[in-house]
């Protein structure tokens, strides 16, 4: 299964080993782990709760993985995203991309994260000393996703 939503933690080493097992064609493994920080926008964060839209989340992530596979010559892709209550230092998300060479693996891993940040229906709520607050979407995330769009056709 290329996409998993779960409350429990993940073991990146075990996930990568499982993804590579028995495939001698793989020459590159790129991975990304997103981690819960203890502060955001200058305020301490004690707990973060991740909510999602069951049903749509899986479809949205599968679509992102399919698009990455269409853009680059990849082998296996895995996305694991946790939901529920997380504490600072907890792992949030894992993306693993395997391919024959590093170029496509690096690029696809970053592409998947950029698209996940702007297209997969997850929301974060933070507990701070001043109370609970929903995390606001960042325009820098939109810009990061935009740069993967094909260049606009030159205007005649």
């Amino acid at each position: 299964m290329a996409v998993r939503i779960q409350t429990k933690d993940f073991d990146a080493g075990a996930e990568i080993a499982a993804l590579r097992r028995g495939n001698p064609k793989i020459g590159a493994v790129a991975s990304f782990i997103g981690v819960c920080r203890d502060a955001n926008d200058g305020t301490a964060v004690t707990t973060m709760t991740l909510e999602h839209y069951p049903g749509m989340t899986e479809k949205a992530l599968e679509k992102i993985v399919a698009e990455a596979k269409a853009r680059w010559d990849l082998m296996e892709v895995l996305v694991v995203h946790r939901v529920g209550e997380l504490k600072p230092t907890d792992q949030i998300v894992l993306v693993v991309v395997t391919g024959a060479h590093r170029g496509e693996a690096f690029a696809a891993c970053e592409f998947i994260m950029d698209y996940l940040k702007t297209r997969a229906p997850f929301w974060k709520k933070e507990e701070t000393p001043q109370g609970a607050r929903w995390v606001e979407a960042r325009s820098s995330d939109d810009e990061a996703a935009e740069r993967w769009n094909p260049p606009k056709a030159a205007v005649a």
């Binding site: 909510e51 839209y53 949205a60 297209r119 997850f122 929903w134």
Partner: protein, 85 residues
Amino acid sequence: MKIKVLYLASLREQLGKSGEDLEISPATSTVAALRTVLMARGGAWQTALAQGKALRVAVNQEMAQPTTPVKPGDEIAFFPPVTGG
């Protein structure tokens, strides 16, 4: 026509509701029209769904646009811009 509407994350808290089954007029045939119908309830609905608010909408679990058609039996979800990862 009958549709199912969901309100997620901060929008659910603002509206005090996670979703509802609605009977709407066939004239409410797009996402934008449905938003207008919901805003007409006034109060928190008027504020939370106001045009200037950054809102995303999914129809049958696919990202939608204001012009996306609404059909009988559809599941329409309103939510704020996503913040996962």
